[in-house]
């Protein structure tokens, strides 16, 4: 069993689907520039547009509403940056609506862009979340007003898996006259996403979270919604994103969503079973633990747990030595000194946030892998607790006495 390799870090990135690899390898000779009129260019163009149709179909959009970008982070930066413009030339009326609302648990690419926008004169308001990571719709109602231009709320959280009610949020946002963006990078391919049903104006997709290649994503921009490119100087993507298209990557993204379409429906139940087995096993075998995230409104593949008295990077590295890959909300692993902003926002104590581990499973994860983790994890936690100043059974801390 020591040779077993378990990859439980699918929210960080996923291995490419064999079908995606096959298609990309077959397309390796396709080097034409989609903007060229000759046969090389036309071949590339046909494949890019085919991928666009697949992505559009997958989320219930029109193909003209899909812009290919370099990453989910770029898509999010693009949407938020629409509202920094000091003039109202690009985005009519944006001068009057210079407030952005987002949440405290967004991905750093949203939070740091928001901070940067705040320095450039945009007013940013942050929604709190409850202990399960859900935003409070009443708080949102209180924040909305005729000064708000954009609301950005992630559909599924990357660390704790909590899902937000985007449909209800969109309705409120539109009633107040603002635009609605959701970062669906973690939700897409795991739960059904239909842009019309959700009622969003902007939606972010990344390929490498759904068994596609890295370095490519897509941004849905609803028809008729004002838009201004982040990267200028080219007619690509109908002038909405300059730069020669990442043809191979786009092809891979197209194939990845297609495969999600086939595989997603049967997957959720299997994921839930794996997660419940993992959750129950941890509960039964390890004392003094806390699960983070919403018990039901959450991704079926994500389980986040805090262990008292142990620091997460140590758990991660001991698990790595046993062939198990996970991630942690501990500060130490990230190189910063602050533990997970998501866990802190849900009210988790800093110490418990430092001791949190995220297991995120994927299409190839098996019950054997879950069982292997359940065999390996308890002795590791016990071992770290034995050398910790912060743990004796029952959770009373040496330091607090």
């Amino acid at each position: 069993m020591a040779d077993m390799k378990v990859y439980f870090d699918h929210n960080a990135t996923t291995p490419m689907h064999p079908e995606v690899k096959k298609e990309m390898i077959a397309a390796m000779e396709m080097f034409g520039n989609p903007s060229s009129m000759h046969s090389y260019g036309r071949e590339a163009r046909a494949n890019v547009e085919d991928a666009r149709r697949k992505v559009a179909d997958f989320i219930g959009a029109d193909e003209r509403e899909i812009i290919f970008v370099g990453s989910g982070s770029e898509a999010n930066n693009t949407v938020l940056s629409l509202f920094v413009c000091g003039t109202s030339q690009c985005i009519a009326g944006s001068k009057m609506r210079s407030t952005i609302i987002t949440t405290k648990i967004e991905h750093p690419c949203v939070l740091e862009t928001s901070e940067c926008l705040a320095h450039r004169g945009v007013r940013v308001k942050y929604l709190d979340v409850d202990r399960y990571g859900k935003i409070d719709l009443d708080q949102l109602a209180g924040m909305l007003g005729d000064d708000v231009g954009l609301v950005s709320v992630m559909m599924a959280n990357n660390e704790i898996g909590t899902l937000q009610d985007i449909e209800a949020i969109s309705a409120m946002v539109h009633a107040s006259g603002a635009l609605m963006h959701t970062d669906a990078v973690q939700a897409i391919g795991k739960v059904p996403v239909d842009v019309r049903k959700l009622g969003v104006d902007f939606l972010t997709i990344s390929a490498h979270k759904i068994y596609g290649p890295k370095g490519v994503g897509a941004l849905f921009v609803k028809k008729g919604i004002p838009y201004c490119p982040l990267i200028r100087g080219g007619h690509q993507e109908l002038g909405r994103r300059a730069g020669t298209e990442n043809t191979l990557g786009i092809l891979g993204l197209g194939r990845a969503v297609e495969m999600r379409r086939f595989e997603m429906p049967e997957e959720e139940e299997r994921m839930l079973h794996l997660k419940q087995t993992l959750r129950r096993g941890i509960e039964e075998r390890i004392d003094d633990i806390y699960f983070n995230g919403h018990p039901t409104d959450a991704l079926a593949s994500t389980l986040n747990v805090s262990f008292t008295g142990v620091e997460g990077e140590a758990i991660l590295l001991y698990l790595d030595l046993e062939g198990i890959a996970v991630s942690t909300g501990s500060a130490c692993a990230s190189g910063s000194l602050d533990p997970s902003h998501v866990l802190l926002a849900t009210g988790v104590d800093a110490e418990l946030a430092h001791g949190s581990i995220r297991f995120s499973m994927g299409r190839e994860s098996s019950i054997q892998e879950v069982e292997y983790v359940l065999d390996v994890l308890p002795p590791i936690i016990q071992r770290i607790r034995n050398m910790s100043t912060a743990y004796i059974k029952g959770g009373l801390h040496a330091a607090s006495r």
Binding site: E311, L321, L337, D349, A390
Partner: protein, 203 residues
């Protein structure tokens, strides 16, 4: 194509992480002559060092520890516990985080702060030994006051940083890591920074 490196840190660090030496078993410290504890759980690092001392020679005969922290923190306390055995109290008192990092085969910059608590806990244990044995005169009580609770940075550390060239709060943070966690000490640190600048450099 390159393969994954053997590990995130040095081989020595890995060895001390996989097989930490001299872990204090249980909670009982009664058999030891000096006990010191530094750090806090909110910041993600806490270390306790306990020592046994040959009272004739003032030499450390045993050193054990507990650490709440990451791999670098665990390994640095482990390697420290090996380093101090057989040293005189005076020599052990002057072990610096740099020496610990060196012994570990080096630490990445962002991990240095994980290793600074071990030697502080050791100094606290040595002082605790002096106090318990009626040698209060030898306690190297720097009469210092902890300003930054998160990183255990004292007014003395801030003074040292100023003497070594820190002139702005940012430079102070670069040198000491003071105020880099919760940031509550910012006002007090800035006041001290100005005070020491004035005392030493008339600024």
């Amino acid at each position: 194509m390159l393969q994954a490196g053997e590990w995130a840190y040095s081989e020595t660090l890995k060895e001390h992480f996989m097989n930490p030496k001299n872990i204090l078993q249980g909670e009982n410290t009664d058999d030891f002559d000096g006990v010191g504890m530094e750090g806090n759980l909110q910041c993600g690092d806490q270390m306790m060092v306990v020592i046994k001392v040959d009272k004739e020679k003032d030499v450390i005969t045993d050193c054990q520890w507990k650490t709440y922290g990451c791999a670098s923190a665990i390994a640095s306390t482990s390697v420290l516990s090996e380093m101090v055995k057989g040293r005189t109290l005076d020599a052990a008192f002057h072990i610096s985080p740099k020496e610990v990092a060196l012994e570990l085969g080096g630490l990445p910059d962002h991990k240095i702060h994980c290793s600074v608590l071990g030697d502080k806990a050791l100094r606290a244990a040595i002082n605790n030994y002096y106090t318990r044995n009626g040698k209060e005169d030898q306690v190297k009580q720097e009469q210092s006051k902890v300003i930054c609770q998160c990183m255990s940075i004292t007014d003395h550390d801030i003074e040292d940083a100023v003497l070594e060239g820190a002139r702005t709060y940012f430079e102070l943070q670069e040198r000491t890591k003071c105020g880099t966690v919760c940031g509550q000490c910012k006002d007090e640190s800035e006041a001290l920074l100005e005070k020491f600048k004035h005392i030493h450099f008339g600024a």
